[in-house]
Amino acid sequence: MTDISVILCTYNRCESLAKTLGSLAAMILPPAITWEVLVVDNNSNDQTATVTDEFRGRYPVRFQYIFEPSQGKSFALNAGILAATGRVLAFIDDDVVASPRWLQNLTANILSGKCSGAGGKILLDPNFAPPAWLPVEGPLSLAGMLAVFDLGNESRPLDRPPFGTNMAFVRTMFEKYGLFRTDMGPAPGSEIRNEDVEFCRRLMSGGEVLQYEPESIVYHAVPERRRTQEYFLQFWFDHGRAVIRETGERSPVIGIPHRYLSIVKAVYWSIPVSTLRWLCTRDTKPRFYRKGWVWMLAGQVSEWSRTASGRRTGSRAISETASRGNLTRNAQTARKVIEEPK
């Protein structure tokens, strides 16, 4: 039996796939450990097969190719899990580059039986030059909105789910808790993610220990569309909504539902003050951060007024439930990085 299977789902991204596979080919593992890489092609129509073939030609047993015609990342993930022979299954995406010790550090504690799963560090591609308005360091850092996962340098049990581009589990976890939910996970025409977080939540609520492995590092590319202000403002807005959903309804004051008071306070006080603060800031980075803060408050107001008007009916309710996962995840990612501006 193979010790480790790395499952890599890809869809029409052969160029960055070649980089990912190149970094996997340079992995350092102790000679006693056997491992394989399963590239699950999720119905791509670009050069994905050719790129994979090149690696299969050079490392015949190490790299393997699976074609999954059902569109959707969860289908591809599950196909990979069923085809994998490894005792430990590790997951990586097609838009990251792994450091040479990634796999060894991610799986060592799982192989020795210390934990049922693990999540590693996800850092920004060091070649990414952030635009002038984007703070990625210090207390105002917005790196968390770019799917960075960095909980420091200490290995410890995770208190939040890791992300799907850098996690691993004992195979038996899938037998015990089931596969990834196919109604989640990105698919063409749908940006609903969260299949990874949902699976990890199942494990964590089942009492399984997932270990944070800070020495297991992948570097995440920043695609063009995430380099725009719109992306970040949308993220702030969604975050504002998610925060309200998570905290839920507060107790009414003298018979008036709390949300009405909150709306009044936000519209007549928090938003004007924050807008003024944003417009009075000249330094581009804090200026953008404060602008985002206004967007977040707007998101909160939108969420309050939504619940107030009680418009959630029929098909809308379903799509809301589905996108809820996405929002919660955003909230989780952003919680660490979003603090009240001083």
Partner: protein, 314 residues
Amino acid sequence: MIISVILCTYNRAQSLVRALESVAASQMPEETAWEVVVVDNNSSDNTPQVVREFQERFPHRFRYIFEATPGKSNALNRAIDETDAEILAFMDDDVQVDPYWLRQLTKIFDDEGYAGSGGRILPESGFQAPAWLKVLSPYALAPIAMFDLGTDAGDLHEPPFGTNMAFRRRVFSLCGNFRRDLGPRPGSEIRSEDTEFGMRVLRAGERLWYEPSAVVYHMIPNHRVKQGYFLKWWYAKGRADVREGIFQRETRLMVSGVPLVLFRRIAVWGTRWLLSISPSRRYDCKAKVWWLAGEIKESFVRVQMRHESNVVRP
């Protein structure tokens, strides 16, 4: 910015494949031009085929140079002369580099004030220091070429190691190339060509940068984690130190070219070794004795050689 990565190799085709695979996976900014120059130092195995395979897979990325004169310094200097890149980075054939190693090691060169940089060298897989080895100073692990000054970047005040360093080309015109009487060669384990060069650069008043995110992983064969290997290394280090000329100004009291102070020191450390109880303390003292023995041997050899050449010359 144009960067040449210089990699000297001698009869290690197997680990060379892994080293080249890792450096081929390097992620550099698109506007940076870079190449890998493999200097085959007279290997008799299938090194040329390995390099040719990479040349085919990655056109214009890999260059092959054959240097027939054995000795790492010869190979290094040959590559320095044959390339014209502005930045020269150095790695060995028994390491694997992080995908962002080259990028992180060379990013300091955007700052004109820095002449060179050095990164971290970590063991390839979970290295356990044996009981006799206390890892207190960064140089305690020098025999297995580990170099780790922590996770804070900053000015580097000691010479970096040859498997993870980069310099501007102008430094070589200013301070000269690697010394040919140092550096490993078949039949000689006297190294230090890298640190001796780094010392020269520092003494010339140039600034070096320590970049902890530039990581290479060094293969450590089991036979190197033995006291015997460490002691041999310290002996060779003592010889290299004398070749570098550390006693030039220090003393005039000598017996057959050997400074008297060395005999005193070796007696002191030898006594300490015999009187120590804890294994790590015993090893520390023993390593000092071996190091001093190397210095004595080399001082003696140098004077003999000078005598011989004096005899021959007239």
